[in-house]
Symmetry: C2
Subunit: 339 residues, 2 copies
């Protein structure tokens, strides 16, 4: 009997559910709004209903389990959310156990950026590698590390926060308490802040004009202006590349992974930040220089820095992969989840 | 029959050899000068002789193999040195295979900082943890990462260089090509450079006086002056702590390991740099704040930052551990090294 898993991407705005088979083929995908304001129980009800509806469409396949990507820090031991600014009221509630109870199936919670990294490892840009690191450029800068095909959680499930590596010790303050975090220099929020700073300095009439347009300033509009040749906008993205390059150079010297994947909406500005990124990485990482794609010889000898391939679906695929990996572990250990 | 392994620490100055049993008991230790100037073949001859002499003292034990810690970058696949500034002429020579051939025993080469990390994991400060990172403060800043009880090598054996993470993007130039590496702010070399800078600024008559003494300036003498209350010397060590704190905060946010061990001669100045280190880590790492020893509850929930325990022997013990781990892997895989 063929097997499949359900992957869920529970965002602050959308709830997306996918059925994915063991080979990574997408069988079914649905998207609904997440009515976070109606409270935790309402959202869990909706999610369970949608999962049930998806599962019943595949009566001739075996459901391996359900993986749920959630924005926040998960306690992997208890299956509870430790911190999740976008899901108020979910803290200290047995999310995993409650969903398992309702659906009678194995459920695994995972941080959404970790799920995206796992998705890119399984089916995306890093599919040919066992070890990888992913940076997700969005409102913030998230990330995930995969070692040996599995998410690296660290001692408390809090690993994989490359967005909060210090790039500039006296740089812009970050809500995390640090200054000059990578996130404060390379996220969409940072791009907009730098554009506002350029406007305040009076150094960019074009950005000032864009800020007054009906749709206002966004990382995307700043990028469009960079493409159109605006010097201030280009300079902002050079600074993004500079910061990403400093962060990546350190990661490469520390971990010597074969591949680093950059995803999230911010990766759409790839060509605007890549030259500065590579310049910094080459200058600052002797490990990169020894393994740069243009210099290294054999396969697997190179350090690849590349764009994510699965777009917004990475987290969905990664979430579906979670119960499959757990089933492999259980099979290796000779145990069964349920009698 | 009891088993033992030989650990070798091949430095630019000393060649040290230890026989260590499977429980980590030191059976025998010898130190001789490394006559690097007499060439590679001479050193390998001497080393093989010394190893033979050590092995014959334990006729009733089984030799598991030999681990050799070497300053430089090792290609783990071929057992050759890729780069080793302190061992000229060893590059592109089949070091491992040659020693295996001469001694007829399994030989494993490892970077010396990685060996030290493994030693501290096996018998030292991190003995109760499977995952750890070690920073070695010496002439440079080295390091090693242990995941699951084993050294993390990365794709090309070049992982574990936290000394070359960028702390200050426009900081002092580093021979590695980067600027503001942790090594340029926290090594013995950096301490002496900062002392000379203070003297050049005319801001420290006491340091200037020390520099003219017969034994001159050293990280140790600057530390002694800090202990005696000299303001400039204290400020230098605060800067060391600041840099270490920034680096560690990033590592903690990235990896969420249970323990970070600081060793090497520079760790002797522990009390001079620790306050600034902890101040930065607390400020810059939300993962640390969530897991700080003074706040966290259960065991294994805490992030420990601590001094190494094995001193200069860490690398020797770690080297001896290498063939033991390799034998475990071989046993797991059901293979034998030799018929």
């Amino acid at each position: 009997m063929p097997t499949f898993a359900i992957g869920v991407d529970l965002g602050g705005t959308n709830l997306r559910i996918a059925a994915v088979d063991e080979h990574g083929t997408l069988l079914e995908k649905t998207t609904t709004g997440t009515q976070v304001a109606r409270g935790r129980d309402f959202v869990i009800n909706e999610m369970c209903e949608a999962i049930r509806a998806a599962v019943t469409k595949f009566p001739t396949s075996t459901l391996v389990g359900i993986g749920i990507g959630v924005p926040g820090i998960i306690d992997m031991g208890t299956g509870m959310l430790r911190e999740s600014p976008n899901l108020p009221g979910w803290h200290d509630y047995p999310v995993r156990d409650e969903i398992e109870r309702r659906l009678g199936t194995k459920v695994i919670l995972e941080n959404d950026a970790n799920s995206a990294a796992l998705g890119e490892k399984w089916l995306g840009a890093a599919r040919d590698y066992d070890d990888m690191l992913m940076l997700t450029l969005g409102t913030g800068v998230g990330g995930g590390i995969v070692f040996g095909g599995r998410v690296w959680h660290g001692a408390r499930g809090m690993a994989g926060e490359p967005g909060h590596i210090t790039v500039e010790p006296d740089g812009p303050p970050c809500p995390c308490g640090n200054r000059g975090c990578l996130e404060q220099l390379a996220s969409a929020t940072a791009v907009v802040r730098m554009a506002r700073e350029a406007i305040a300095r009076g150094s960019s009439p074009a950005l000032a004009q864009a800020a007054e347009a009906s749709d206002g300033l966004s990382a995307q509009s700043v990028y469009q202006m960079a493409v159109q040749g605006d010097n201030s906008a280009q300079q902002i993205y050079r600074r993004v590349g500079w910061a990403l390059g400093i962060g990546l150079a350190g990661l490469i010297n520390l971990l010597n992974l074969p591949i680093y994947v950059i995803g999230g909406g911010g990766a759409n500005a790839w060509d605007a930040f890549l030259p500065a990124l590579l310049e910094e990485v080459r200058k600052r990482s002797f490990v990169y220089r020894a393994t740069a794609p243009e210099d290294a010889s054999g396969p697997g000898e190179k350090t690849i820095i590349t764009r994510a391939r699965l777009g917004g679906d990475a987290g969905l695929f990664g979430a579906a992969r979670l119960p499959m990996l757990a089933a492999e572990t259980a099979a290796d250990a000779g145990v069964r989840w349920r009698a």
